[in-house]
Amino acid sequence: MEAAPKALSGSNPQNRLSLPASLGINVFFIIYSLLCVIPLILIVMVSISDESTVIKEGYQFIPSKLDLAAYRFLFEDATQIIRSYSISILVTIAGTALSLIIMALYAYPISRQDFPHAKFFTFFVFFTMLFSGGLVPWYLVYVRMLELKNTMLALIMPLLVAAFFVLIIRTFFQTTIPAAVVESAKIDGAGELTIFTKIVLPLSLPVLATVALFQTLTYWNDWFLSLVFITKDANITVQYLMYKTMLNIQFLSNNSTAAAAITAAGGTFKFPSETVRMAMVVVGIGPIIFAYPFFQKYFVKGLTVGAVKG
């Protein structure tokens, strides 16, 4: 779907809104769109403000004095930021790739009408959408049974199989892969795995791309798994780093050289904590903002791929 391709009212000029109404709607959307961007602008402006001005005047859209001290401070000792970034990127890439492969491998057999156990295995995955054991047993499985606390696997494994996406992929396979194609490939002597990799996957790129984008976003934006499973500062993701920064600005400066440099530069022991906090968010959301125009285009396409029916 090309987003918003045609007007609701159709081509008939008689069926158009009156000029004031039309104008009103346009103004309304301009205001709402501004409301979506303004909070981000405020954060960016605070991050490039001068610390003492912020303390005096509060957060301002147009700061009376600009200063990049917050960013200088952040990159003085970027060890933690670089580490967290690496972990986030690694978890996102590995998680998305693995989850796509595993979900597609599961979705294909349950999409095949001739597979007698398709119904059972469809229910097997669908049921996880209806009922869950809750946080406590789930946590104990990962921490006591598998002993995955403080490992990267704990950040990847829980999000690998999402029932909703499995069912979406299954529906796509069912509706777009003609049974006759699979049948003729079988007659030619192709094995199930060959059929899957050579015929089914290449035909399913649209749905796979959509699910991959959703999973990328899920992994990148996840902070809950870090909150629950990670207790060592060295292993936290960017999202969790932002959360910790909010709680405790000191967290960024466990390295004393950074603190010393700030002291030398500013002559006070106080970190530019207000601005550094906001600079941390700007550094943290950078990739999402750049990827977002591209992402949203495919999201819109993907949301219309097909509805699920259990």
Binding site: C36, G133, G134, P137, M157, L160, E192, F196, N221, Y292
Partner: protein, 327 residues
Amino acid sequence: MANQIAEAVTAAKVPRVKAIAKVKPQLNVFRKYWMFYVMMLPAIVLLVVNNYIPMFGIMIAFKNINYADGILGSEWSGLRNFEYLFKTSDAWIITRNTLLYNSAFIVLNLVFPLAFAIMLGEIKSRFAAKVHQTIMFLPYFLSMVVISYLVFGFMSDEHGYLNSSLLPAFGIEPVQWYFTKEVWPYILPIVNTWKSMGYFTVIYMAAIIGIDDEYYEAATIDGASKWKQMTRITVPLIMPVITIMTLLQIGKIFNADFGLFFQVPRESGVLFPVTNVIDTYVYRTFLTVGDIGLSSAAGLLQSVVGFALVFLSNWVVRRINKENALF
């Protein structure tokens, strides 16, 4: 007599023959489709570990867990954990908060995105409509940690934009937002609607675009007003989408958005009476306080009631219109 015995014997024999006949095709299925099982294996293992084993773990709620004996070895405590839970005032508060907030979210996530989708369709410049739609989608891509910062930027007690600039401009005294209970039942729904607006708008817009133009053409000829067209054509024709989206949310009415209630109020204890929901309660009693009995009891109630609600809502929809039911 002999006849009867013979009958009984054959009767007893028949099931055995049947059983053998049943096993054989099963084996054939495995032989024919063995590759399918290999393909499904990774996901099966993950579902068992991540979903099914924890389901059996709900027995924790009926036990007096002690780590030395393990989960299976710990003694049963009957409904003791639930008794404790209902003796606290929290049980009522978290249930009320979860249900009320989620009900508000369901209504808001229907009314506003639907209205936005219809209005976007009325914008003549397709380019402008697309730009608006793209920008509206932005908050959906931000994590709750970031959203929490954005809210903080406006509402911080000391430096927030509201307290430092906006309120003084109107001569209003600064408000200690993170210590004022009364405002949060409005702030949280606003933040939630703001974040999910783009997502739901796209879904309803896609449904509206699927409507045949001729309906509107005919309505125009009959002199139907815009409002009439909306209530008599647009909304009825996208009813299936509305029902499915609402149903999906009603099924999850007992599951609060943990991020929203955990990150955005910044864990301000003063606000707990209006921000504590089942999910945050389970998290805090389990991982902060360390009370495994209380938290698992609350978690189990959430799962069971949530499960019942999915079926109930689906049943209601089936009664009204079978086509729209989820399963």
